[in-house]
């Protein structure tokens, strides 16, 4: 069996983990919740012969506020994000996405840092991170750097993380009170489905005029993308059915999908139009989700 050839290191502190990484570099793969790595191991797709088990490093699991930001430790589980009063109050779009990830079993294991490390274009926690202007903290022995989420992914399963670096923290902006948000996902069943298309958006309205729209799309390009042309089109305009149609069309045009077992490229383009249209239409008709309390809710 494949697992018999694999060695596991289980450091008890971040310092110890970084030390091991600095020595092993490409030979070792960090593993947090294991929901991706264990499947790779079973399928014989794991090239590394050594694993760095991050599950005994409590200092990497936390959710805290820092002024207008929320800091999330890399090994914070989806379960904890879903139940966090801080995230509920200030970044509910992340909860909207996380509750659609996997199943209770997966949410009790999987971590936000793990989702970033796996770097699947279909990762469901990633589109919300784009619209929340997330920054990813990478640490190695003696230094740390922050990378904006826009610059973090290089392609499917590829990131800018160097072999001696560890993803240690994700920082996101708090959402503006009163803004609308959505996360829409198209999959084959409600649980444990890999997204065929997903979309996350934050819409800020002043009366009926759009202050800004932030829109990101997943599973339709080599990495998650921001639909910047659609965002530009929305800015300063009144939210109407006509405008929604134009935004959805620009979003669809921004995609560069592939055909795979879950759907064809053509289907993904059409589906992108559909889910973006529907999400914005719901807001127009008064069914959209809105962050009600924002900054006042918790102090």
């Amino acid at each position: 069996m494949a697992y018999e050839k694999v060695e596991v290191y289980s450091p008890r502190s971040l310092a110890e983990a970084l030390e091991i990484l600095s020595q092993k570099k490409e030979q070792i793969k960090p593993v947090a919740g294991g929901t991706d790595v264990m499947v790779m191991l079973k399928d014989g797709a794991l090239k590394e012969k050594e694993l760095l088990n991050l599950s005994y490093i409590p200092e990497l699991s936390y959710i805290k506020e820092k002024e207008n930001h929320i800091l999330i430790g890399a090994t914070t589980k989806y379960r904890e994000i879903r139940r966090s009063p801080i995230i509920n109050a200030y970044a509910p779009i992340l909860i909207e996405a996380v509750r659609q990830i996997g199943s209770p079993q997966i949410q009790n294991l999987g971590t936000i840092g793990g989702n970033l490390g796996t770097a699947s274009p279909a990762g469901d926690s990633i589109p919300p991170l784009y619209v929340l202007n997330a920054k990813v903290k990478l640490q190695k022995v003696g230094s740390a750097r922050e990378v904006h989420i826009d610059k973090f992914f290089l392609g499917p399963r590829k990131t800018v993380r160097e072999a001696d670096e560890l993803i240690t923290e994700i920082s996101v902006d708090k959402m503006e009170p009163g803004s609308y948000y959505f996360f829409e996902k198209l999959g084959l069943r409600s649980a444990n489905a890999i997204s065929i298309v997903n979309a996350a958006g934050i819409l800020s309205l002043e009366n009926k005029t759009i202050k800004y729209l932030r829109l990101s799309l997943g599973a339709v390009a080599p990495t998650v993308i921001r639909a910047t042309e659609a965002e530009e089109e929305a800015k300063g305009k009144e939210l109407t059915e006509d405008l929604i149609e134009r935004i959805a069309k620009l979003a669809s045009e921004a995609t560069r999908p592939i055909s795979d077992i879950r759907g064809t490229a053509e289907y993904r383009k059409k589906a992108t139009y559909g889910i973006v249209y529907e999400a914005l239409y719901k807001i127009l008709k008064g069914y959209g989700k809105k962050i009600e309390y924002g900054f006042e809710k918790i102090s």
Binding site: E4, V6, V8, S10, V31, G34, M38, P104, I106, L109
Partner: protein, 156 residues
């Protein structure tokens, strides 16, 4: 290349020596004689290998034995108390909620995990609570009824 891991299994302390990346599922079945946990997809999608890990439902196929040191693991073998079946086990029998039975332990454990945290779930919460479990016979209505039965008793 083996590791010795100690943890609490169904209320008893156990120590097991195994390859460090071996799954908890395989260790339970092959090294500890716990065969209620079923290998289905072994990719976290079917839920047949579900266990409670420190009270939370997880698919044991995705957990390395190296991650279980000092934890509490509960399988259906540990549900009965003094020879008395757990209310969920009784309800599954009474409602005929099994057909081939392969998925049953996983469903019972997922339901147990749900009810531990939320003794009075809504119908929607029940459905979400077992959404990570697949029954290929299609006994879903009876499985739902069995869980609902326990919830109703809890509610009294």
């Amino acid at each position: 290349m083996e590791v010795t891991v100690s943890f609490n299994l169904n209320g008893k302390k156990v120590s097991v020596t195994a390859p460090p990346a071996k799954s908890l599922l395989r260790v339970l079945r092959e090294d500890l004689g716990i065969t209620s946990v079923k290998p289905g997809c072994e990719a976290g999608e079917c839920g047949a290998c579900s266990v409670l890990l420190d009270g939370q439902v997880v698919t044991s196929c995705l957990v390395m034995i190296s991650q279980v040191e000092g934890k509490n693991v509960l399988t259906v073998e540990g549900l009965q108390k003094d020879g008395e079946l757990d209310p969920l086990q009784k309800a599954f029998i009474e409602e005929g909620a099994t057909q081939c039975g392969y998925c049953t332990p996983g469903f019972i454990i997922a339901a147990k995990g749900l009810l531990n945290e939320n003794p009075n779930p809504t119908d929607e919460e029940i459905l979400e609570g077992v959404s990570g479990n697949i029954c290929r016979c299609g006994a879903y209505p009876r499985i739902f009824n069995a869980i609902k039965k326990v919830v109703k008793k809890n509610g009294v």
